[in-house]
């Protein structure tokens, strides 16, 4: 009898009528639709980016052939004698990103190996958040740092021929900016390497150094490569540091002590001026933007593929 009472109470509260049940189902469907729309916003964003770039890009390639765009060695759309060769901008972007990787990869990997293989938990708990702070500093601040500290205090005392705007300072600042990305992604990859691999190596008589460099790093290699590619992609798309520290003169040169204009810096230069819409000068930023978008997209896809492969092996 006691049980009956309990069940009766339960059914009075819990049994939904047919109308209630339908309402409930309806509400579930509405919620599902709204959430799906939220998720689709990201797809619309990508479509909008591509559409925005394509819309203006036709006007550009109506007047400039793809061959001229990729082979002319001068980029002077804002001068009377117009040339539309993207090579100076592209080579500046690639050179400075390469320089950034020369800074970020050794330092970032060293930090990652130290944190993953050597550091005691307490030290790791301190160092990791500090590196995260480095990742959270706005790029305009790195630009200031490059122009007001790296150039006058480091680059110019060492190389007197370096100008006040030079690619080397921008590279160093971008390297520092991307260092936390390299270190945290590589560390994640190394920590995902199963402990049994390490123990096996120790069992064969390897010491800590040999385990780190000959077992863990090779095992985590695809994750580490993904980290490097993502960092390079970040450097290629980086805008403020190169705009502030490397100058605004298109310059087809491999000398990092000279000033040069990156693709992103050119886009900023045009949008700061008052180039009227509808002119070929205005449409150049979309052509350069498209090249930038495709370049970074390619690198990101490569990185995703590597990460996917890495996860398939260990997770």
């Amino acid at each position: 009898m006691h049980q009956d009472v309990a069940l009766g109470r339960l059914s009075r509260v819990r049994r939904p009528g047919p109308l209630q049940a339908r309402l409930r189902r309806g509400r579930e469907a509405v919620v599902y639709g709204v959430l799906l729309l939220c998720a689709l916003v990201s797809v619309f964003t990508t479509l909008a980016i591509v559409a925005a770039l394509l819309e203006e890009i036709w006007a550009f390639f109506d007047e400039v052939s793809l061959i001229e765009f990729f082979t002319d060695t001068q980029w002077t759309p804002l001068f009377r004698d117009q040339h539309f060769g993207v090579l100076p901008l592209l080579s500046a972007t690639l050179l400075m990103s390469l320089g950034a990787m020369l800074v970020a990869l050794p330092l970032g990997l060293a930090a990652a190996i130290f944190l993953s293989e050597y550091a005691p938990a307490g030290l790791r708990a301190v160092v990791k958040p500090v590196l995260e702070v480095l990742a959270g500093i706005p790029t305009v601040v790195y630009g200031y740092f490059a122009l007001q500290f790296i150039t006058p205090e480091i680059v110019r005392p060492l190389f007197t021929e370096a100008g006040p705007f030079n690619a080397a300072s921008a590279s160093i600042a971008m390297g520092i900016m991307t260092l936390p990305l390299v270190s945290s992604l590589s560390e994640d990859a190394m920590r995902a390497v199963p402990q049994t691999l390490r123990e096996g190596a120790y069992g064969l008589g390897a010491n800590r150094f040999e385990v780190a460099l000959r077992v863990v790093v090779p095992a985590a290699l695809s994750g580490i490569m993904a980290a490097a590619i993502l960092a390079a992609s970040r450097a290629i798309g980086e805008t403020m540091i190169v705009t502030i520290a490397a100058g605004n003169m298109p310059n087809l040169s491999w000398n990092p002590l000279e000033g040069m204009q990156a693709m992103t810096a050119y886009i900023v230069q045009v949008s700061l001026g008052d180039t009227p819409r509808g002119t070929i000068e205005y449409s150049t930023i979309f052509a350069v933007g498209m090249l930038l978008f495709l370049l970074t997209l390619l690198l990101n896809i490569a990185a995703q593929w590597l990460l996917h492969r890495f996860r398939e092996v260990y997770e």
């Binding site: 579930e28 599902y32 959430l35 799906l36 729309l37 939220c38 998720a39 916003v41 990201s42 797809v43 964003t45 990508t46 909008a48 559409a51 770039l53 203006e56 330092l107 970032g108 990997l109 060293a110 930090a111 190996i113 944190l115 050597y118 550091a119 995260e132 480095l134 959270g136 500093i137 706005p138 790029t139 305009v140 601040v141 630009g143 200031y144 740092f145 122009l147 007001q148 520092i176 270190s183 010491n207 800590r208 150094f209 040999e210 780190a212 460099l213 992609s233 798309g237 805008t239 403020m240 705009t243 502030i244 992103t264 886009i267 900023v268 930038l292 970074t296 997209l297 990101n300 995703q304």
Partner: protein, 292 residues
């Protein structure tokens, strides 16, 4: 066979190499931290003298000693408010869909791949998008609203990724228990999963917003003015933000303006570091008070 002396020599070499390698790794880590210290010290040294109430409460000016960051500070506040308004519900909604509702089909895979790729799109490309869609096509002009919408799209992938991690950390047993007592899927999410994941989601939201506060390039693209001697009064007003004001000062040749830039950077970093600290605090508190 190798003799005892050769063996001892080889052991010494191995041990030595190991020690050198450890020293190199340690040095790399130290350099990274030292650079952060140098950066903070340089900026503080350059800008601390310029920092005063007058600097915070003045509009920009052609005279460096009278210029201040009032317009930029208000612009940043306005923009962040609207950015959060757009990005937070959208981001959490998308995360809930992907973690709790999405069927395993091609559409979910497309959305997922797409979010991963969006996270890697350079911020200046978002600026081009904002210029073409919000400023031109939707005719919002170079307004707070156009800037906030652009910024919301930029930080959306960050919020989605962080929220998904938060939701994934809630154990399935909680969902199963709710379903077992008759809750619908949405009731399960609304009353059980979301509250449990909220601290982690908030941490991600704060970090995403702090990223947006420091972004400069996309707002230059949509034309956030470099010289704005007023605070915005409505979402359709023109505006400037702190990083753009700093960029403006950095790009002038006079050293007095560089000093202003450094002072502006100090304000920006104080805001960002307190947000980071809040996020770390929330995360630690969350991990301590976890009920499972």
């Amino acid at each position: 066979m190798i003799g005892a002396a050769a063996l001892r020599r080889r052991m010494a070499v191995r041990r030595g190499t190991g020690a050198v390698f450890l020293a190199l790794c340690f040095a790399g880590t130290c350099i990274a931290i030292a650079v952060l210290a140098v950066l903070l010290v340089t900026v503080t040294r350059d800008g601390i003298d310029r920092l005063s109430w007058g600097f915070i409460n003045s509009f920009p000016s052609r005279h460096p000693e009278q210029a201040g960051i009032k317009a930029a500070l208000f612009g940043t506040l306005w923009m962040m408010g609207f950015t959060a308004l757009f990005a937070v519900p959208l981001g959490i909604g998308a995360a809930i869909y992907l973690e709790e509702f999405a069927p395993h089909n091609w559409l979910s895979r497309v959305i997922e791949t797409n979010i991963n790729n969006l996270a890697g799109v350079p911020s200046i490309v978002y600026g081009i998008l904002g210029l073409a869609v919000f400023v031109r096509a939707m005719d919002l002009g170079r307004s707070v609203l156009a800037g906030s919408l652009t910024m919301a799209l930029l930080i959306l992938p960050i919020i989605i990724v962080a929220s998904r991690e938060g939701l994934r950390a809630v154990p399935p047993s909680i969902r199963e228990a709710a379903i077992a007592v008759g809750a619908t899927r949405w009731q399960t999410v609304r009353f059980q999963v979301l509250p449990a994941a909220l601290p982690a989601i908030m941490t991600g939201v704060i970090l995403a917003l702090s990223r947006a506060i420091g972004e400069t390039a996309p707002l230059i693209m949509i034309g956030a003015l470099l010289f704005v001697p007023f605070t915005p009064g409505s979402p359709l007003d023109r505006f400037t933000v702190l990083p753009i004001q700093i960029f403006n000062w950095v790009s002038r040749p006079q050293p007095e303006f560089a000093e202003n830039a450094a002072a502006g950077i100090i304000v920006l970093l104080v805001v960002l570091l307190s947000m980071n600290a809040l996020a770390v605090f929330l995360r630690n508190w969350f991990e301590r008070s976890r009920r499972w």
